[in-house]
Structures are given as C-alpha cells and as structure tokens.
Homo-oligomer: 137 residues x 2
DNA sequence: TTTCATGCAAATGATTTGCATAGTC
DNA sequence: GACTATGCAAATCATTTGCATGAAA
C-alpha cells in the first residue's frame, strides 16, 4: 500500500509539505538526517518550516512510511521499502557503505528462540573499520 | 591491563574524579547514560562538574577503558571488559534485557568476507518487541 | 465548518567550550 | 614548576512545543 494511501486511511491530511517530504525520502537511496531533509525540502519549497518537517518525519515513522534510525546523536531516515538497509560506517574515515542484505536473520532467529524477543533490524548503522583504514592502522 | 594503568601510560593524570567515574561504570552491570553517570558521581562526590564527567567519559572511550554507544539520542556507556554486551530494548514498553552473548559473530564474518569491513559490535542496542508486548499487540 | 497541519518564535535539554584556578606528576 | 584537569558559566545545536493562523476533508 502506498504511503499516500496510508496517510489518508489513518485520517491524516495529505498536504503538499507531506508529499514533498515523502518524495525526498523515497528519492534518496541512502539514509538522510532530519536536517538534510530540512535543506532538501526547503530547496524545493522555500518557507517550509523545520517544525513541520520534524513533525512529519515523526508521523511518517509512526505510521511505518519511513524508517527512523540514529547516528551520531541525530535522527536518520530512509524509505520503508521491503527489505533491509544497513550501513557500514568506518570510525576512522567516516565513510559509509550501504548493504541491502538480510544480515541479521540469524541474530533475529536466535533472539526470538532464546528470549521471545522480536528484533527489528531494519535500519542499522554498523560501526567498525573499513578495509582501507584497517591497512593504514 | 587495568584502566588506571592505561590512563597513566598514556600520559593522562589520575584524578579522584576519574577514579570515581571509572568505578561507577565498572560497578554498573548494564549501560548507563552520561547523565546517570553525572548523578551517580555527584551522589558520591558532590561538586564534581558535568563538564568534567562528559570530558572524562569521552577520554575513557578514546583510550578504550569504556565503550560508548547511543540510544534515544543520548550517550550510553559501559565498561570495556572482554566479551559482548548487547541490550534488547522493547519499543512498546521500553524495558531492556541484557544479553552477553556473541550474537554478531556470523554477521562480522560475513561483512569482513564481502566488504573487508571489520564490524565492531561491542555494545549494541537492539530494538524490537519483547515477548510480553508481542502478545498484547 | 470542523479539525488537523503549518509557521513562527521561543523553549528545551543534552552536550560542548573558553577560561581562570587548582591539582598531578 | 610545568602542564593538565577541573569548575564555572555561557554557548551550541538538534529537536520540541505553544499558539494563532491557514488549509484539507
């Protein structure tokens, strides 16, 4: 079901601001910080307020239209397509590489079996050292 | 090697504040937020300043004496013992359950093989639904 | 026309910073 | 005694909130 349908079905109003914010997140192939969304939105539609964007992002996360995560103390978002989106972030050079595999299936299974916990690894920022920085160190 | 030795060896000074902060993190069997460290430290040694604590926590993380993580936009810390410390946090009730297993060994292996990336899963907050909340939902 | 969303401006709250003083080595 | 760490107070900076106005259903 499309996000637009979800918004309507849940009784929320479909405003141009919300459409644009959705578009921006869907266009981006990797995660974006809330602040990046603010800049991107304001580039296309000047005058849209930060508060609106923060509120919309929170709403979209709540109704499952986007996936929220956090990195370096900031909120990050990406679209909630089926599948997985993980990011490997090098603690030395700061570069990130995306990874769309279902990396955590076995972990999810183990946690469910042992603790009955249903882990949700939809959007994980994995910290570590990239191959280049490993060599340099 | 003990943290106290590490501090000295790296040329940092061993102050009562630093000792106390180290103690507090080592006494805690789960992670603590920076703010919790502030309260705990000030309970035992009133007058110690927030800045000192934040600076010390950052230092301790840098020299590997504690492990820093983040949850809900705040910094969390625990001692850097050998082994693993993960936390399952329920997004419904907010409860967390600790898990000291080496959950991510297979993921680490896979990422290294495919991307040469050395993932560091020392202290992960795993979000999801606990068994109780799964039933309620 | 009712209700929800937006814009604005100000508040929040964790974390950081500059600087003078105090404490370690 | 040299140099670092601390305390203090103020600054930061992302995010949130209250409220009056504007737009969607």
């Amino acid at each position: 079901m499309s996000c637009i349908t979800t918004i309507k079905e849940r009784g929320f109003k479909l405003t141009p601001q919300r459409r644009l914010i959705l578009d921006i997140i869907h266009e981006s192939d990797t995660h974006v910080t809330a602040e990046e969304v603010v800049s991107l939105v304001q580039a296309k539609m000047p005058g849209v307020n930060k508060s609106t964007i923060y509120r919309t992002l929170e709403l979209l996360d709540e109704i499952g239209c986007v996936v929220k995560g956090e990195s370096h103390g900031r909120s990050i978002y990406h679209h909630a397509e089926e599948g997985h989106h993980h990011h490997m972030e090098c603690r030395a050079c700061g570069n990130t590489v995306d990874c769309s595999e279902d990396l955590f299936a076995s972990v999810e299974k183990a946690l469910h079996k042992k603790y009955g916990f249903r882990a949700e690894f939809k959007h994980t920022v994995i910290k570590g050292l990239c191959s280049q920085c490993r060599i340099r160190m």
